[in-house]
Amino acid sequence: MNQEKKIKTVNPEAEATETEVFASKLEAKDSPEGTAQTADQQILARAQAGDHAAFAQLYSVHKRRVYSLCLRMLGNVAEAEDLTQEAFLQLHRKIATFRGDSAFSTWLHRLTINVVLMNLRRKGLNLISLDEALDPSPEYGPARSFGAPDLRLSGSIDRMTLEKAVEALPAGYRLIFVLHDIEGYEHNEIATMLDCSIGNSKSQLHKARMKLREALRAPAEEVAK
């Protein structure tokens, strides 16, 4: 019946609150980790069976993680919103295929990365020769700020400054830096995702960090003048 297929409007925040209450009651009874996992698995199973309210709960639980990942990889709020939406639509399409070989959050994380990478490829970003495509004349002179206190000792890295610097990186460098240094992927995993060699991933990461170093040093040097 068509009416049954009609999706009811669901407030994910309200649903999440009910879930949290349910989960916290269970946690108080027994092993905290085990019972919370059981509650999550029940929500997941319901969502896989087509329960829209359960899908809304999944959205509520995972939206920050997915959105933040998109935002970091893309460095652009509007695109991050679009691709967060695309990731959850793909999740809706594919959720029944999740078999539990990995944690659901890991699976969703990879799905999100694939959505972002597909988008970047559609836009023509060559993920194999990232630096040549995006930064045709990288500057590798000796460290220009020689003599200045190093970043670690001067304590000049704060979150806001670092976020801005990462946001300003060329897309290819940002991608490698986010995947390795923030999301914790290994070079062999990144190489598989980006269809490049492990050596390429390593050298790109080095160049990304070099770019960040220049960006992070600039404000400190201005203050020192």
């Binding site: 999706i7 939206k63 959850f88 190093d150 923030i182 080095h206």
Partner: protein, 85 residues
């Protein structure tokens, strides 16, 4: 043997050449810490320390999660209703 000051005795072009070769060396899996230039050049060691500090800062500072706008869920629901999902 003449003493070599680890800070002042390395000409710019020697460090520039070494630093320019870093990406390829790292890509090839070379351990830079054991390179003869690194063992004696404080300038390039400081550079590598900076890069490590940036990686460490990213691990510690960046995993803060941001909240997407509230309207996003409404848009997702509408897309599902339209059959986009």
């Amino acid at each position: 043997m003449k003493y070599r000051d680890p800070v002042n005795d390395f000409p710019d072009d020697e460090c520039a050449e070494f630093q320019a070769s870093m990406p390829a060396r790292i890509g090839a899996g070379e351990d830079l810490q054991n390179h003869p230039h690194m063992l004696t050049c404080e300038r390039c060691r400081a550079l590598v320390r900076d890069l490590e500090a940036i990686a460490e800062a990213a691990r510690q500072l960046m995993p803060v999660e941001e909240e997407p706008p509230d309207e996003l869920w409404t848009q997702i629901q509408m897309a599902i209703e339209r059959g986009d999902a």
